[in-house]
Every structure is written in C-alpha cells, then in structure tokens.
C-alpha cells in the first residue's frame, strides 16, 4: 500500500520492565492522512499506538503490543475559541501551553496546568494528566466537554459538545480520558475554560519531618481556604510544604493571614517545577491512612530521588534519578506497599487479591471492543 505519510522516525518507548521498544512513527498532517494510516493498520492487522508529544507514554504505558505509532503533533490548530462562553475547541496535536496562552490573553485559565510545555491536548486527555491545580479545578476528565475520535478509517465518534452543560448522548469521552489511546485516536476536543485568577501566590514552609508537613497540609484542607495545590516536597535534605493560592487580591490576602495563623510564618516563593522524570501514583495520601509512614517506605524502596505529594487529591509523584527507571521504580513502589490503602487506584490492578472482578474485566473488554470494533488500537 502506498502511504502518503511515511514512517520517518523510530519511537523508542520505555516499558514498565525497563526494556525498550522501537516502533516506526508516522506523523500525519491531516485527518485524511490519519485515516489512510488507520486503513493500512486495519488491512494488515497492525496495532496502532497513538502518541502526542510522548511525555507520558514511556513511563506510564505497560508493555502492550503495537506495530506503529501515529504521532498527532501535526494535527494541530484551534477550531473554536469562545472566551465569553468559557470554551475552547482544538485539534489533538495542539499544545496545552499554546491553549493556555490563548486563554490567558482573554482573561481565561486553561486547566489542567501541566508542567510539560510540549504536552498536547490529545495526549493530556488520553493520559488523564493531573495538573498542579487539580485540588481546585478537578481532574482532566472534568475539563473535557466533548471529543471526537477516529475509531478506524471509516468510523469516527463524537460525544459531548462545545457547551459547559450538556447531557445528550452517552459520555463516550469519559472512556478516552485516561484511556491512553486504547479505544481510538482523539482528533479534537473541547475544554472548559475558567476565569483567570487576578492574583496568584506560592507560599512555602520547611518542616523537620514528613509527618509534620503532611499534618499541616491536611490542616489547610480543613480551613475555608481554596488553594490550587497543597504540595509536600520531600527528600533526604529537605521537607517542605508549598501552598499555591489564587483569586481576588483581597481574598488571597485574607487566605495568607488565615494560613499564617494556623501554620506560622510562610515564605513567599516561586512556582517550583516538577522534575522532568517522575511517575505518579494515585491514592496513597488519603487522610484516613498513615500516609507519611508508607510514602517514605515507598520512596526508599523505589530508589526515588524525592517525593512530591499533592494533598487533597491523593496523588504522589516519585521523582526518579537518571539511573532509576520509571517503570521499575513504580513496580518497586507498589511492591513496597504492605496493604492496599483505602481509596487507592493504581495499586488495585497489581496487588494480589485486589484485582478488579472478572465481571468488571469482561465488561471493560466488551466496552473496549464496542469503541474499537476493528481492534486497531494497541491495548
């Protein structure tokens, strides 16, 4: 079959066991070229791995059979931007950073606020990326108002729309959010925009122990403050709590006073970017368990250079050293857990005895087949 989109690159994807996969990559410039690639895959029984800018695949994907990668970064562009209505619709390869900049220019805020400047809209949705601002604005899936995906060369599906409220039809976009490209190739999506924050402030306080930092962070959750994030940074040299506030200037000032009355003096600081090499684990900081104890166990057993815990959203990032591979770090983290903490997510699939029931797995498989009837996408 003659392909108008050549396979020009080799994608070197790290897998969870630390090995490397090398896959040919095609970067279609148009939807027609994308369809051609999907037709090629269907005719030859090949499995497709959709990819945005590749900031998540290496660390988060388990090994799964794939024959080639469709890179969506060239399928980029804004389709509709309605700042007064609070929505933006763009093609999947559009970077989140460019959308954030567009929104900010009209007094709007795009969520999630992602650390990686190259993250694409489609990739951010497919990987269910968590932003630094999730505590206030919620997960990625709450931002997606509608989505169009290609399921094969001849089949596409749209759900939701370009409105902030809409319950017509099934929310198929919920399957694509965090679906890691297993059920289709996201072509375009509409995100909700929030009002811009007139004032933002990052405050920091150092602590002697992880327990004290987590306890203080949890105290903030019990106040009327609505921070964008409450983040604990922890390594062998330093433990600190960083609080990101935002809103009307008078509101932020009042929140600072309230926090200082609870936590003592707080230092104003700058936003601290997450390390480039990090993996995220969900769930371990539920306030009903002894979070400090076992996250420390994880950090040491996993060999992570340091740990960043987002309080209130039950999420922990383990920053890995160059020699400590993400996949093996994650496995070591999971293996370090004495028991599955209540309210956790990722661990359920890997801890013995806590796997989803056969009925759930069977239904997920049927739904996946319904979404990807030709079985084109790598699962």
């Amino acid at each position: 079959m003659h392909m108008s989109t050549p396979f020009e690159q080799q994608y070197r994807g790290a897998t969870r066991d630390g090995s490397q996969d090398e896959l040919p990559v095609a970067s279609p410039k148009t939807e027609d070229e994308t369809r051609e690639l999907l037709r090629f895959a269907a005719e030859d029984g090949l499995k497709v791995l959709p990819r945005g800018c590749g900031t998540s695949l290496g660390l988060e994907e388990p090994r799964r059979r794939a024959d080639f990668v469709i890179d969506t970064t060239q399928l980029a562009g804004v389709i509709a931007f309605e700042p007064s209505d609070g929505t933006v619709t763009a093609l999947a390869g559009t970077t989140m950073a460019s959308l954030a900049e567009l929104a900010a220019g009209s007094g709007r805020r795009l969520c999630p606020d992602l650390a990686h400047t190259k993250s694409t809209l489609g990739g951010a949705i497919a990987s269910g990326r968590t932003g630094e601002d999730r505590l206030r604005y919620g997960p990625m899936r709450d931002q997606v108002l509608g989505l169009r995906a290609m399921l094969s060369a001849d089949i596409s599906s749209k759900s939701g729309g370009r409105l902030v409220k809409n319950v017509a039809g099934y929310d198929l976009h919920r399957a694509h959010c965090g679906g890691r490209g297993q059920y289709g190739l996201i072509v375009e999506a509409t995100l909700r925009l929030h009002p811009a924050l007139p004032k933002e402030l990052h405050l920091m306080r150092r602590f002697d122990s992880l327990e004290a930092a987590i306890d203080s962070g949890n105290q903030i959750l019990s106040t009327p403050c609505r921070p964008l994030s409450i983040r604990v940074w922890h390594n062998d040299d330093e433990t600190s709590l960083q609080v990101h506030l935002g809103g009307r200037e008078d509101v932020v000032s009042a929140e600072v006073l309230l926090l200082e009355s609870k936590l003592g003096d707080l230092q104003e600081t700058t936003s601290r970017p997450l390390p480039q090499t990090q993996i995220r684990l969900d769930g371990p900081i539920s306030r009903t368990i002894d979070a400090a104890h076992w996250v420390e166990v994880i950090r040491k057993k996993a060999g992570a250079s340091h740990l960043i815990a987002d309080l209130g959203i039950a999420s922990v990032c383990l920053a890995t050293t160059p020699t400590s591979h993400g996949g093996s770090c994650q496995q070591a983290s999971i293996a370090a857990l004495p028991a599955r903490p209540k309210g956790t997510d990722l661990f359920g699939a890997t801890q013995p005895g806590t796997s989803p029931s056969a009925a759930i797995v069977a239904l997920q498989s049927r739904v996946a087949t319904g979404l990807d009837p030709l079985g084109i996408f790598s699962r």
Partner: protein, 478 residues
Amino acid sequence: MDKALIDGLIEIIGKDAVVADETRLMSYESDALAMYHEKADLVILPADTAETAACMKLIASFGVPIVPRGAGTGLTGGARPIEGGVVVATSRMRQVFEVNPTDGFARTGAGLVNVDLTHACEDHGLFYAPDPSSQRACTIGGNVANNSGGPHGFKYGSTTQHILGLVIVLPDGEVLDLSEPRVDPEGVDLVGLFVGSEGTFGIATEVTVKLVPTPEVVETLLAVYTGGEGLSKACDTVSEIIRVGLEPSAIEILDTLTIAAVEDSVFAAGYPRDASAVLLMEVEGTPTEVQGTSGDIMKLAKTFGATELRSAQTDAERAMLWAGRKGAFGAMGRIAPDLYVADAVVPRTKLREMVRTTVAIAEKYQLKLATVFHAGDGNLHPNICYDRRDKEETRRVVAAGAEILEACVAAGGSLTGEHGIGLEKLAEIGLLFSEQDLQAMGRVRRAWDPDLRMNPGKALPLRACVELGDKPKSSVEA
C-alpha cells in the same frame, strides 16, 4: 405477565414489594412528563443490591424488558415503560452506609432522596452539591441515571463530577462492585460511562459520592428587572457576569409569568409582581470573597438595568427566595394543569437571542410560556403550560417543543442540559449526532446490555444499537 415470573419475584422480595394490581400500577404509568404514559406489567421494589440482582437474574430468564425508576421525577419519559415490562424502582434503597468526613465521601443506597444525603452529612460541615429543583423528592440513583444538574451546577458541576463509585446490577443480574472511591478510573471508566446512561446500561443500587465543604458564608441576591426589555436585560447581565469572570455559585432567571405563578402559590417568595424578570443569584465562600463578588455583581446588575437589588438578610429570607425558584414548576400548576418542561442548552453568549426565540415560538403556537432557567449554564427551561386533555393544544405543545430544540441546536446548543434524552427527544437526537456517532454509542450500549432489554426505546434510537442482521428482543422502535 407470566405468573411464574411474578411468583418467583414474590419469593425473592416478598409480596409487599411486588406491585401487580391495576390501581397501584397507575402510579408508575408516567414520570413527571405526564404527556406520555403507559402501564407497566409489573413494578418491583427490591430493598438492596442482593434482591435487585436476584430479581434481575430471574427477569432475564424470561427475556422481559426492565425499566429502572427512582422517584419518577424525570421530565423526559425515561422512567416509564413503552410496551410493558417490569419497572424496577429503587425507592426502598434509602440507606446511608457511610459518611467519611475525613476523605469527603459518602456511600448511600440509590433510592436515597437527594436532600436527605445533605441532611445526613451536614453535621460534618459537608454537603452533596448537585441540587435539582426536585431534590426533595428525586433520588441519588435517578440523578446518576440522568446526570442531573441543578441551580448550583454553575459552580459545582453536574452529577458526574460528584460520583466516585457505584454498585451496578447488570441486566443479567451480575453485580459490578465499583463502589470504592477512586482518584482516577483504572481501565475503561465504567462509572463515568454509566452516569447519564438513562437506565439503559443497568441499575445502580449503591452510590459513592463526593461531599464538599459547607461554605463559610452564603449570600443570596435578587436583581429585579421591569419593563418590556426586562427579560433581555437579565440575560445580558448574566452574559456579562460570565464574560468578566465573576463566580457566583448559582445564577437563575425567572420571567414574569413564573413570578406570578410563584407569588400566587404556597411557594410565594416575595418576588415583585410587577417585575418582568428576576435574577436570583448566590455567592459562597469566605467573608472577603462573598463581600467582593456580591458587590461586583450588584454593580454590574445595576449597570445592566436592574431596578431593584436585594440581598437576603436572614436564613429564612434566603430559604424563601430559593423556595420560590425550586417550587416554580409546581406553582405553574396554577396556570394550567400540565407542564411541558424543555431543557435546551445554548452558548451563554446567546441567552438573550434564544430566550426571544422561544417566546416567539410560543406566540406562534399560541401557547403560554413561563420561563425559569439556569442562566449561568445557558440551560434554558422554557415551560409550556397546557392541558393535555385538549388534544389540539397538546399537538401544538409537541410541535413548539421540537421547534425550540431545533432553534437551540442551530444556535450551537444542545437538546438537554440535565434531564436527558429519554423518550421525549429521541426524534431530535440526530440533530446533534451523526449516524456513526449514534452507532458508536449503540455498540457501547450493547456491551452493557447485549439483549437490549434495559429501558428500551430511551436515550438512543434503537436502530443505533442494532447490528445488521440482529433481531432485537424488544420490538419497540423509537
């Protein structure tokens, strides 16, 4: 209905939980869209997941359609049968299994009434945010099925943003325990897909919900507009509030006919009778936040032509203002015996234009239109007051309703913001989705319900669910 099935169900859940006599069955002929009604063959009221699963398994062996039902407050005909079948009502599942104030979630039975959930957790300084106008009657399970909204959805979002887990009974009686609250779904987001599936995937029997902290301060505001352009001015005020990025928790508009109905009813809220529209808003947060935002909103409302501005001074006054809004649909019974509640959504920049369009359509069909809506979300509720005994008027209501929906979709809107497609809007769903889109949805429906026995003829046209050559169990064609 097969006597063996009835006997089997009685054996599982007891005689008192099986409704078979003609008089009692009449209560289940329709939901709150009384225009359409159809007798169920049988209604069962299982008490919990185990009873529901056993009943569903038995019903599956007879190949009978199932219609899930909460409190029957839905407005699209979604909770009524089309051609008989068994209605499975969840109204006995009112348990609150757990309130976890530390991690901010609760687990309840699907039949728990919405407002009772907030009552169950208010001592912990928490509440359940989605608040449909029918919250004193509607159930959490019904809210899940329809992805219900409510006035405070402007700030807090719809039901789907508040559901952390579910226990679901599939059509064949299999139980899926997805009740553990999860940060993010693992694999296909079954919970996310289920919310808003309108009873076509299975029956949720237990629900794990997110709870949110009760705000420190709440201020309820009323902006009054008079004169012929009052309703348009109220719409413009809302569009401007959104444009400048102010964030009240609720923004509702009531028009003059609604105000008159409310003020004549037991829900009288003290809205000025000479107003052509009122804008009811709520601001929540810290004292500083509420004071600042309320002040900005009041200034803006005045700039856009509000002739009177009020702030509720007491909890009683606040409750009264909201009782008027939430009782508005009931109060419309004073205008006419029946009510057709449209549920269209439009971009928030087009509120003025679309409200005018709906008024013009009602005038064209010589119908009484009372408008009350979630203006902040662009979610219009043009309510047509009519008498369904008058067949000719009913025909005009249906035609006007369809025309309103078509106009809203043409303006970039949607058919439904919170009530669902149900039975009522099946004919219009093609305005929003292509045949391919509907077929993708149909394949997902079949993944949950291969025999298409769950709430047949609702949410999605049957043709979208049927593969070539298949013969559906139900002969109902939408």
